[in-house]
């Protein structure tokens, strides 16, 4: 499991770990039932306090994203799919919020943004067709 910590941007490390694990589950890089590295292994890999990893795992467990099993390992929750959808929604909503804030600051309104999104979609579709016709 690859996790990249950014020390300078002020986001607490346990949150960075939580967000990246959630993102990897939402994007399918971590599968339901997959075992996460032990707290100590991840702490040594990332060179962070094991308590920080323990906190990230604990909060992920409370949120139902991961589950502890009898063998003391931590696993991606099996009931992953509805939750993954919730997580995916949350992630995409965070990006939409950021997009809207920036758009409004630059003086675009919602209609402008929707039109631009549709335009981008058309461009992507067009590009895909081009690629297909070249194959």
């Amino acid at each position: 499991m690859q996790i990249h910590l950014e020390a300078k941007d002020g986001v607490p490390i346990y949150l960075q770990v939580m967000q990246q694990i959630k993102y990897q589950i939402a994007s399918g890089r971590l599968q339901p039932g997959e075992e996460l590295p032990s707290i100590r292994t991840l702490a040594e890999q990332l060179l962070v306090n094991p308590n920080t990893i323990a906190r990230a795992y604990r909060e992920l467990e409370t949120a139902g994203v991961v589950e502890k099993r009898r063998t003391a390992g931590t696993y991606v929750a099996e009931s992953g799919s509805p939750l993954a959808r919730k997580e995916r929604l949350k992630l995409i909503n965070e990006r939409i919020d950021r997009l809207l804030v920036e758009a409004f600051q630059m003086g675009f309104d919602l209609d402008d943004v929707l039109k631009l999104v549709q335009k981008s979609q058309l461009a992507i579709d067009h590009q895909k067709q081009e690629e297909r016709s070249h194959e």
């Binding site: 300078k8 002020g10 707290i39 702490a43 040594e44 060179l47 962070v48 306090n49 308590n51 920080t52």
Partner: protein, 301 residues
């Protein structure tokens, strides 16, 4: 694993109202600290802030002129053997006798510690790729640091004290030192105290920090609490201002015209309410890094 919170029984290090001066110059002023068992305590401060002087009190190499120092509940100056046998120490100076060979310094140091674990010492020696026949004076700076680290760890101390351990070392050796800290803390109940001016190391490893500035403790708190109590907000006012209005807990203000950025300590809600009262829009909000917190706290004091 311990959460490093205040539910731990007795603090491993307890310092009360410690004062120290050298030649009429204050080195420590009214320092009080509690270091709970089972966590990593990061001591932050600029050069000359008093970090090493404070650490030397923990080791018992300085006596408390006024106030008190207790380590494991014991006074280190009065009972140095009881304290030092349970403590591992590595300093920035790494002063070990240059004429000794690696194997000799290991055997020599072993004699001082009843709890010395020869298998662990050997494991570390191999891990660090240290030649037992090499003379200390011929070692590179990084290898010498690894010898010191081995000597500090091999008796599996209850308290590991590292004074600027990674100062002047390359990233590979720094990684060894940080790994040693992580391993030490992962073993039940052990405590690490380390001083550093590399704040990203402190941010990664410490669960509790103290900022020392000109001999005084200006901040002493769990790192999570520190993080939650500092906020950076950029406000946009209706009109250009030559002087930004005061905000609750503001310790730094920067900007010009309509946009001003504040670094504040305190409750985030109060901050947002104050912004609302000034009919200012919050255009950006972030958590400051430990670097920013350190610089602004020190400047303010």
């Amino acid at each position: 694993m311990n959460n490093g919170n205040s539910t731990s029984p007795r603090p491993v290090v307890e310092i009360r109202n410690l004062n120290r001066n050298f030649d009429q110059k204050w080195a420590l002023q009214d320092v009080s600290l509690q270091i709970p068992q089972g966590g990593v305590f990061g001591l932050i401060g600029s050069n000359g802030a008093g970090k090493t002087t404070l650490i030397k009190h923990i080791l018992g190499s300085h006596y408390a002129q006024t106030g008190s120092v207790r380590v494991f509940g014991i006074e280190p100056v009065a009972s140095p053997v009881e304290v030092l046998s349970r403590l591992g120490y590595m300093s920035e100076d790494r002063d070990i006798p240059g004429w000794m060979r690696v194997a000799e310094i290991i055997n020599y140091t072993r004699a001082f510690y009843p709890s010395w674990d020869p298998h662990y010492a050997e494991e570390l020696r191999e891990l660090f790729d240290l030649d037992p026949k090499a003379r200390i004076r011929d070692l590179s700076r990084g290898q010498a640091a690894r010898v010191c680290l081995l000597l500090a760890l091999a008796h599996r101390p209850e308290l590991l004290v590292l004074d600027e351990p990674s100062s002047g070392l390359d990233p590979v050796v720094r990684r060894d030192i940080l790994t040693a800290i992580v391993r030490t803390i992962a073993e039940e109940g052990r405590t690490v105290v380390f001083s550093s001016h590399l704040l990203d190391e402190v941010e990664r490893l410490a669960d509790r920090i103290a900022i020392l500035h000109e001999g005084r403790i200006v901040l002493h708190e769990q790192l999570d609490v520190v993080r939650e109590s500092f906020h950076r907000v950029t406000l946009r006012f209706d009109e250009a201002l030559s002087e930004p209005p005061p905000m609750p807990g503001a310790i730094e203000r920067q900007g010009r015209g309509q946009e001003w950025t504040y670094l504040c300590r305190g409750d985030r809600e109060l901050l947002l309410q104050a912004a609302k009262r000034l009919s200012a829009a919050v255009v950006q909000e972030s958590s400051p890094s430990l670097d920013d917190i350190f610089i602004s706290t020190v400047n303010r004091n």
